[in-house]
């Protein structure tokens, strides 16, 4: 057991890398996905198909293919990204597609009458979004979005395959030295679980907080 405890600082470094990557991806995907999601619902017709195509395409290919493409494939086009930039780009592109769908679903779940009532008292588009649609859509948005965040943390383990020492690769390196896989995989699993279970709890808490609408 001692070696497992001795390896903790090293695993901690890996965990920080995992969190760092996840936070970046979640942040960029939230911004890009929200803008594109609003674009697909309210935007002009010429905006619909490009976003639709993007969302369907990126949700339709395996994440690992996307990571390898960004890291090993792009140099063919004279675009050389380091492994960190490549994985952040790949995972952000992938997650953005999910956020688009979550935003779209959340907005479209709000009855049309809400927009009409907001129009009828003279609210402008921005005001309708800010004061009427978003507060209601938030409740529909949060649970699937936090699912997507959990998926991101788990999916980020794939970055170990292009040589980034995240939690996953840190675990494997310790195993490589000690030839004792079991305790370390258990330890790693617990670390992933603690992060994601905390997120799930937060999600449930938030859902209750926004439960002012009774159907």
């Amino acid at each position: 057991m001692l070696f497992a405890i001795q390896s903790l600082p090293f695993l901690w470094q890996g965990l920080l890398v995992t969190l760092h990557i996840s936070v970046l991806i979640v942040f960029f995907a939230l911004i890009a996905g929200t803008i594109l999601g609003i674009g697909i619902v309210y935007g002009p017709g010429w905006l619909y198909w490009p976003i639709r195509l993007y969302s369907d395409f990126f949700r339709g290919i395996p994440l690992l293919v996307l990571i390898f493409f960004m890291y090993y494939g792009l140099p063919v086009f004279k675009v050389n990204l380091n492994n960190f930039a490549a994985v952040v780009l790949a995972l952000t592109a992938f997650k953005t597609a999910h956020v688009i769908e979550v935003v779209r679903g959340a907005i479209q779940s709000i009855p049309k009458g809400q927009t009409e009532a907001a129009k009828s008292i003279g609210l402008t588009f921005g005001q309708r979004l800010l004061h009427v649609i978003v507060p209601q859509a938030l409740r529909r948005f949060l649970p699937p979005w936090i699912n997507a965040v959990v998926d991101t943390v788990k999916g980020s383990a794939l970055v170990s395959l292009v040589g980034i020492v995240d939690l996953m690769l840190a675990i494997q390196q310790v195993i490589g030295r000690t030839y004792r896989p079991m305790p370390l995989y258990v330890l790693g699993a617990i670390m992933y679980f603690v992060i994601n279970y905390t997120l799930s709890l937060a999600s449930r808490r938030l859902e209750a907080r926004f439960a002012y609408i009774r159907e």
């Binding site: 009458g113 009409e116 009532a117 129009k119 009828s120 003279g122 402008t124 209601q136």
Partner: protein, 264 residues
């Protein structure tokens, strides 16, 4: 606020046409509503009454003709040479702020209390400071008999109470005309009265209104004019006495008989 002269109508609809696909819903409507008038629009479902109402505040766009509220064309801005340009969101919002609407399904904002529902437009559109908006909202809610429900969420109110909040939300903006779209159709029969009483009071106070309803007794009592629509056209128009006594018009007669039958 600019006072329209006694001669210029608050709402003027000219040659209004509107189709949904191959379906012509409005087939040339002419209608003028003067200040303080209460025009009740009746007619079978599918006759275009609701669409007419929704064209007046451009929740529905129209294909041909003209809709003016207080002398301003709602759907278009006239460019040089009389070219029509669709109005942008900002211009439209400004026009809509002066046209109140109450909906069949209330459409209250479920995340806001009764008072906040009424305040939203006052704050964001009229630009009133919070304290003043709160006061105005409370005053209107008290007038519709909900002075003790200011902090209730819509989900905590009965249908009749919700609809009265809907009316307060619309009239608090001091609109030039109020559009009522079958506002009692979704209510239990015993709640209809409390809502219609509020409308009747507004009528007495001189609010200009266009009312789509199936409540004939109410129409007779409150209307300065009744308009009977069928097939996207206005078929009969006149005072309640004239219209309801006009038994030589077949379609109107059939419609009134059907309504009468449903009541008994």
């Amino acid at each position: 606020m600019s006072q329209p002269s006694a001669l210029s109508p608050v709402v003027r609809v000219r040659g209004l046409k509107k189709s949904f696909g191959p379906n012509r819903v409005l087939d040339g409507i002419d209608l003028e509503v003067r200040k303080g008038e209460v025009v009740v629009v009746i007619g079978p479902s599918g006759s275009g009454k609701t669409t007419l109402l929704r064209c007046i505040n451009l929740l529905e766009s129209y294909d041909e003709g003209s809709v003016q509220v207080d002398g301003v064309e709602v759907g278009f801005r006239e460019g040089p040479g009389g070219a029509r340009h669709r109005r942008g969101d900002r211009e439209l919002s400004k026009i809509r702020a002066d046209i109140g609407m109450v909906f069949q399904l209330f459409n209250l904002f479920p995340h806001l209390t009764a008072q906040e529902n009424v305040m939203l437009g006052l704050r964001k559109v009229r630009g009133l400071p919070a304290a003043e908006a709160r006061q105005v909202a409370a005053r209107w809610l008290t007038r519709v008999g909900l002075g003790d429900k200011l902090d209730s969420l819509p989900s905590q109110l009965s249908g009749g109470q919700q609809q009265r909040v809907g009316i307060a939300r619309a009239v608090a903006m001091e609109p030039k005309v109020l559009l009522l779209d079958e506002i009692t159709s979704a209510l239990d029969p015993e709640l209809v009265g409390e809502v219609l009483n509020v409308v009747q009071e507004l009528a007495r106070d001189g609010m200009t209104m266009i009312v789509v309803t199936h409540e004939m007794t109410f129409a007779r009592d409150v209307a300065t004019r009744i308009v009977f629509m069928d097939g996207g056209r206005i078929q009969v128009e006149g005072t309640p006495r004239e219209v309801l006594a006009k038994t030589d018009h077949d379609r109107l007669k059939a419609f009134l008989a059907r309504i009468e039958m449903k009541r008994h």
